[in-house]
């Protein structure tokens, strides 16, 4: 089974995010950048399928040169190959632009299954996976929490957690899946894996290599633009009401009515 996993590099969710003073983005200096957690689960899903059915896992990322570090993490987990599409013309791309580039790259690869994270923890958009499926004309299932392959029928059976129950879908291959974090527990890269990954070459491609027209991606093609990034409002200090129960209830009700105005 030829599996392609899409990988994005994002700021470590542990690290506090500092927004640039002009609101144009986040201040990346000194920021620890890691593989998007959801993509770790996507990689794990790919590796398990490969272990079960043979084939290969190819990682693909779009972003600046440093994205290679996230790809390297996936190689250290056990992926066979990695490709980075990097081009200055990609600056300012929206999610659709990224999906177009991924689609162009994936078209050059044999693929039975494409696996993406449900979302990336930096901008929480959850757009790239579904857009990519559209662009490739593939069936898709999003936010899957369980995955089985029916080799005889050439389909995958997936579970999606929906309000009040589980939705079970059967999707014919080739297909695109986006994964939930509950799908699996990603393995740690092993020490030998890390050393093996070090020796693997990460192929870098430009838009020209892929035959992608510059105007179809990048800032010019973006259908949405970031106006400004603002930090969440500072939390107000809480107020303690230290009275006996009756008085306290009365005071809280008064607060909800008069100050919070929710009653």
């Amino acid at each position: 089974m030829n599996i392609v996993v899409c990988v994005k590099q994002v700021p470590d969710t542990e690290a506090p995010i500092r927004i640039r003073p002009d609101g144009s983005g986040i201040d990346e200096s000194g920021l620890n950048l890691v593989m998007n957690y959801y993509d770790e689960h996507a990689t794990e899903a790919g590796l398990r399928l490969k272990e079960q059915f043979g084939g290969s896992v190819t990682l693909i990322g779009v972003g600046p040169e440093r994205t290679k570090e996230a790809l390297r993490t996936g190689l250290a987990m056990g992926a066979d190959e990695a490709i980075l599409v990097s081009d200055v013309a990609l600056l300012g791309s929206d999610h659709l632009g990224t999906a177009r580039v991924l689609a162009a790259a994936i078209k050059t690869l044999p693929h039975d299954l494409i696996i993406c994270g449900k979302l990336s923890t930096d901008d929480n958009a959850a757009i790239v996976g579904p857009a990519l499926a559209e662009l490739l004309g593939l069936p898709q299932a999003t936010a899957i929490a369980q995955l089985e392959v029916d080799t005889s029928g050439g389909t995958v059976v997936v579970h999606r957690e929906v309000e009040g129950g589980v939705e079970v879908l059967e999707v014919p291959l080739p297909a695109l899946l986006t994964v939930e974090r509950s799908l699996n527990e990603p393995r740690y890269p092993s020490l030998p894996g890390i050393m093996k990954a070090k020796r693997k070459e990460i192929k870098t491609m430009s838009l020209a290599d892929l035959g992608v027209e510059v105007p179809s991606v990048g800032a010019t093609a973006a259908k949405s633009a970031l106006t400004r990034l603002v930090p969440p409002p500072k939390r107000q200090a809480g107020r303690m009401i230290e009275e006996d129960a009756e008085k306290a209830v009365a005071e809280i009700v008064a607060f909800l009515k008069n100050e919070a105005k929710v009653l």
Partner: protein, 590 residues
């Protein structure tokens, strides 16, 4: 690490007598992509596998300890420095520092460190081919766990004074070991023990003793102040029958095994202390931001900022020393990691630096855990909060791998021995300083970035050399009886290495990343150096006053004053800036 990533080899201890360029030192910022990924992986492992299990580990669930060790084995982390032929990863010493730094959470890190350091280490470094084949592959997988038994009830620091004896059996196939070992880490669950005993009454020798050996029993678990999730117990040997092929190294050469393994242990212990200090700083910052008094978070009070900044400054300095030493070792190895004997020789060259790091790292951690309790206030005294455990767990680091007293004595002792053997030109350097003190002006760097700090580091080295020179001249070979003087000199040497390592790291960052990105490192080292000078001055005066008196003393003190003259900077303002940055990041960062 590849040969191209390392600097040229330099002699151990030479930092004291020569100038080092920022480009020549290894700093944490120089970690390559794989080393960073190794660090990230271990960090994730700790976060996911160890942190959620801390309470179970604290209750001495040895099955869990062994499971975790086996998992680390599956991932290759038990064989970092073991040759590939025995299932290891054959990696560089800087990578092992990274792992030691990340895997530094209380007792489990002692179980881990004992297994890979003093369990696997002696066999990997000194084992015969047959011994390595028999034990290493299983130890690297975590199927067999190792321990190390040197200490006895009557022989602790005096490790050569052990009483356990080994007698060859009449048929010459076995040694019969009798004696008691005490305070042995991993004792409760280890399978393989490196046990030291004396053959024929005086030949200090190491033996590999398997748990199932007849006549070998493990005593009850000790009730400890800290690292309670590690096992510590006595071993009883009553004519324990150990096959002759289990002699590790040569008969009569056990001290070599013991001392060389201690070097490695000190090297890594310091990294572990740095890691533990960064954990503590993170907890302290978190708590200081949460806890409100007088209507605002503790983190807004100047005195709390001072504590946070100082914890980070000292951790920064310790971390700079540890990785600088890693770089020195790698500079000697030049990319070769397949032969453990080579790594051991490289570490031996930097035995002084390893002892310095051990003392400094453990004391930085001691300071950090103490201030952490203080920041937690009364809650810091309560066992439900993490500060108390961190405080208890840290204390062991000043005791094992040679107490800090022993390591201070060793620092000066080894430097003097290197000088005697012509491996370090300490004597000419000390004489040059003694001459310089009478000259009208002192040679010192005056321009370039951090010129004043560079000048001060030079002067501190001179003060250390001068003081050591005066003491050696007075006591000659009787100096070993002057422990207070030796330890005082050690403190001067330690401070010199500390200041310089932090300074070179800041200068390197400045060159590479520019003033803005290097700002916190610069602020930290400026504060550190400013505060270190009076400490150094006081120590040097104590030593000089113990050695000389009258006019000679007065002349020497005047000379010292010339070396250590400085104008204080506004460290209050700088510390606030450092603390604000820490609070914004929510963790140790620089």
């Amino acid at each position: 690490m590849d040969a191209k990533e390392v600097s040229a080899p330099v002699a151990g201890g030479s930092f004291l007598i020569s100038e080092t360029a920022p480009g020549e030192v290894f700093t944490p910022e120089d970690l390559n992509e794989e080393q960073r990924l190794v660090g990230q992986t271990v960090r994730d492992f700790v976060e996911r596998e160890i942190v959620p299990n801390l309470d179970r580990l604290e209750e001495k669930d040895w099955t869990l300890t062994r499971d975790l060790l086996r998992k680390l084995g599956e991932l290759g982390f038990l064989g970092i420095n073991v040759p590939a032929a025995y299932g290891g990863a054959e990696l560089d010493q800087v990578t092992s520092l990274v792992v030691a730094e990340e895997l530094s959470l209380g007792g489990f890190s002692v179980s881990y460190g004992t297994h890979i350091g003093i369990g696997i280490g002696p066999i990997a470094y000194f084992g015969t081919e047959a011994q390595k084949r028999k034990y290493l592959p299983k130890m690297v997988k975590g199927e067999l766990i190792g321990a190390y038994a040197l200490t006895e009830p009557t022989a602790g620091s005096d490790a050569m004074g052990i009483r356990t004896r080994a007698v060859l059996s009449p048929d010459r196939t076995h040694y019969l070991l009798s004696g008691t070992k005490q305070f042995i880490s991993n004792a409760a669950f280890a399978d393989v023990f490196n046990v030291f005993a004396k053959v024929d009454g005086d030949k200090h020798t190491c033996f590999i003793v398997e748990r199932a050996t007849a006549g070998f029993t493990v005593g009850d678990e000790e009730h400890k102040m800290g690292i309670r999730s590690s096992s510590t117990a006595s071993l009883f040997l009553e004519n324990a029958k150990v096959p002759v092929e289990n002699v590790l190294g040569e008969i009569g050469q056990g001290h070599k095994v013991a001392f060389n393994i201690l070097n490695v242990g000190r090297f890594k212990l310091a990294a572990g202390c740095v890691g533990a200090a960064t954990h503590v700083i993170r907890e302290a910052i978190g708590y200081a931001k949460e806890r409100q008094q007088f209507g605002k978070p503790l983190a807004e009070f100047g005195l709390i900022k001072h504590k946070l900044a100082e914890m980070a400054i000292r951790t920064y300095v310790a971390e700079s020393m540890v990785f600088r030493t890693g770089g020195l070792v790698e500079g000697t190895l030049q990319g070769l990691h397949g032969d453990p004997a080579e790594s051991m020789r490289a570490l031996e060259e930097y035995a002084v630096e390893c002892a310095i790091n051990k003392v400094y790292g453990s004391e930085v951690l001691g300071f950090a855990v103490d201030e952490n309790v203080q920041i937690y206030g009364g809650y810091g005294f309560m066992e439900e909060y993490p500060a108390a455990r961190a405080y208890r767990d840290a204390r062991i680091n000043r005791l094992f791998e040679g107490t800090n007293e022993i390591n201070r004595l060793l620092t000066t002792g080894m430097l003097l021995r290197r000088a005697q053997r012509g491996r370090l030109d300490l004597i000419p350097a000390a004489m040059a300083v003694a001459r310089e003190i009478t000259e009208p002006s002192l040679s010192e760097p005056v321009d370039g970035p951090l010129a004043e700090e560079r000048r001060l580091v030079n002067m501190v080295k001179k003060a250390a050399l001068f003081t050591a020179g005066v003491a050696v001249q007075k006591y000659l070979d009787q100096i070993e009886h002057e422990q207070e003087v030796l330890a005082g000199i050690a403190d001067l040497v330690i401070e010199a290495f500390a200041m310089e390592s932090g300074l070179l790291r800041a200068l390197r960052a400045l060159q590479r990343d520019g003033a803005e990105r290097a700002a916190i490192k610069i602020a930290m080292i400026r504060t550190y150096i400013n505060d270190a000078i009076p400490r150094i001055d006081a120590t040097a005066r104590t030593v000089l006053a113990a050695v000389e008196e009258g006019d000679t003393l007065r002349t020497e003190l005047a000379g010292l004053r010339r070396f250590l003259r400085y104008t204080p900077i506004n460290t209050v303002a700088i510390r606030r800036k450092i603390a604000d940055q820490l609070i914004a990041h929510g963790r140790y960062a620089n």
